[in-house]
């Protein structure tokens, strides 16, 4: 079976930076047995370890790009340009750098899809702002579609 992983990136104690972990928590029971779901803080090398051997990795992270709060963007690595308006990552290397590092080291999964949710508030504290909260259902649905499409992909290992 094609190995699939969903990675929710972010720190729930930085308000909207917790959108990735929130989506991961919602998805976990929905995809049990079909895909692995993990929460990471965004540190680059953990990302490379997490998606080791995966055919499809779906990453959900907060972004600050200037779009309207709660806007959901989809980027497929290798197809779309990487969002150098970097996701609001919590550590020394952001998601874009982690992906580039994976590419340099030959450690990218077959397909990497990034959903970025436009954050408003990344100050210290728990809880998402309303616009980001309202985007959660949409992101969960979109990730489910990606996983279903990925499972149908003919080139994945049996």
């Amino acid at each position: 079976m094609t190995r699939q992983i969903v990675i929710g990136m972010g720190n729930p104690m930085r308000h909207d930076d917790g959108v990735g972990p929130t989506v991961a928590r919602r998805l976990s029971p929905l995809v049990a047995g079909r895909a692995e779901v993990v929460v990471l803080d965004g540190e680059a090398s953990r990302l490379l370890d997490a998606w080791e051997g995966a055919e499809l990795a779906v990453v959900v992270d907060a972004v600050r790009s200037g779009a309207a709060p709660g806007t959901v963007g989809r980027v497929e690595v290798g197809v779309d340009p990487l969002p150098h308006e970097s996701p609001a990552s919590t550590h020394g290397l952001g998601l874009a750098e982690a992906i580039e590092l994976g590419r340099s080291l030959g450690r990218l999964p077959g397909q990497v899809i990034v959903f970025g949710v436009e954050a408003v508030d990344t100050e210290a504290g728990a809880g998402l702002s309303p616009a980001v909260e309202a985007a959660i259902d949409d992101v969960v649905d979109q990730v489910l579609v990606e996983l279903a499409l990925g499972a149908l992909a003919p080139d994945g290992p049996e």
Binding site: R46, D49, A88, L93
Partner: protein, 457 residues
Amino acid sequence: MSDPAPPPAIPDERTLRVEALARVEGEGAMYVRTSGGRVAEVELQIYEPPRFFEAFLRGRSYTEPPDITARICGICPVAYQMSACLAIEDACGVTLDGPLADLRRLLYCGEWIESHVLHIYLLHAPDFLGYPSALALARDQADAVQQGLDLKKTGNDLVDLIGGRAVHPVNVRVGGFYRVPTRRELAPMREALLVARDQAEAMIRWVAGFDIPDFERDYVFVALRDPDRYAVVGGELGSSAGWSAPIAEFDDHVHEEHVARSNALRAHLSDGGPYLVGPLARYSLNSAQLSEGAQAAAADAGLGPTCRNPFQSIVVRSVETLHAIDEALAIIERYDEPDVAAVEVVPRAGVGHGATEAPRGLLYHRYDLDDQGLVLDARIVPPTSQNQAAIEDDLAGFVDRHLDLDDETLTLRCEQAIRNYDPCISCATHFLDLTIEDDDGAGPGATDRRPPGRRGR
């Protein structure tokens, strides 16, 4: 006597400014102003959330601070958990020993390995090798970087095994753990650590070969000391100034003050002077207690019994990594599963103090509990705010000696000097904005030196 050389074509008034430092954990900024060929002003501006957490902890149960404070940092959650546990147990009159204390050190070894190795390979090595980023380094030296990531993963795996998961461990509680590993579960870790040992020795040789600036500083070091071991979890406060004190007297020796530019408090010793915590302090006070292998590797790498060059911190971190591996191996070797995963901790009214050596330096917690075990007051003093004054002094000293460098080179060197401290400013959103201003009006004003991908933030 011949005429003096003509002065370099460098403006009399200079300002170096890094609005958001790259390759540090969290969010911070640097400001350096020179005037008349001297450093006039240096500021490290840091934005960190521990103070928010202190307020957040009031009214919580005594069982909660380990998990709540672990959220302050994704890189050193174990340090926060351990300092919190020690402080609360101190308030309640409990001390752990035997296998439970060993397991805490084992978990901490995992965090040291992953934190130190992350910093060495991905954050600091690019400075020494002339690369703008870890990415650029990885393109040229993929094998070295991959070896670093493999070594770091052994640290992650150790935290995962003892802590329940690699990020924000969930298995730690006041009094011990929710579940302890069996000897059989630890056995594969031993094999991984033996491999990691070779990788760490290679890492030490690698960093020892870097071109390290000659820059000795006259620091007052402060670190934990323990007669039985290279102190990490608990011990006494020790200083190169000759004093030692129980952790409970931390407040008598260290004072903190607010500085307007930063929401971190700035710490200094009670005599008013700055001090240094972290790898250099630990090494200089306790190097004789490193594992035999780590001491030998340190000597081969050119370190003496003390180290006062902050740019050599990368070598000290790599030596400490080897020590952590050796200590983890020794703990696994002698491990016997304890009868209970946690000792009972009955709350009582009182104040407790706890300190451990986070990868970046001494991390102090104090909790004031009521008789129900509710937190009345909490105080957290992280290593980076303790080092802020020392970092600023380093910057001033370094800039004074290197005014001949152009703005761009000097700014990069200043950033490198800040990264000597692996400053864990916070888990904050982070991006790079680097601007350099020429105060004399002759320059172009603000010069955007940000990498292309980072502009316009």
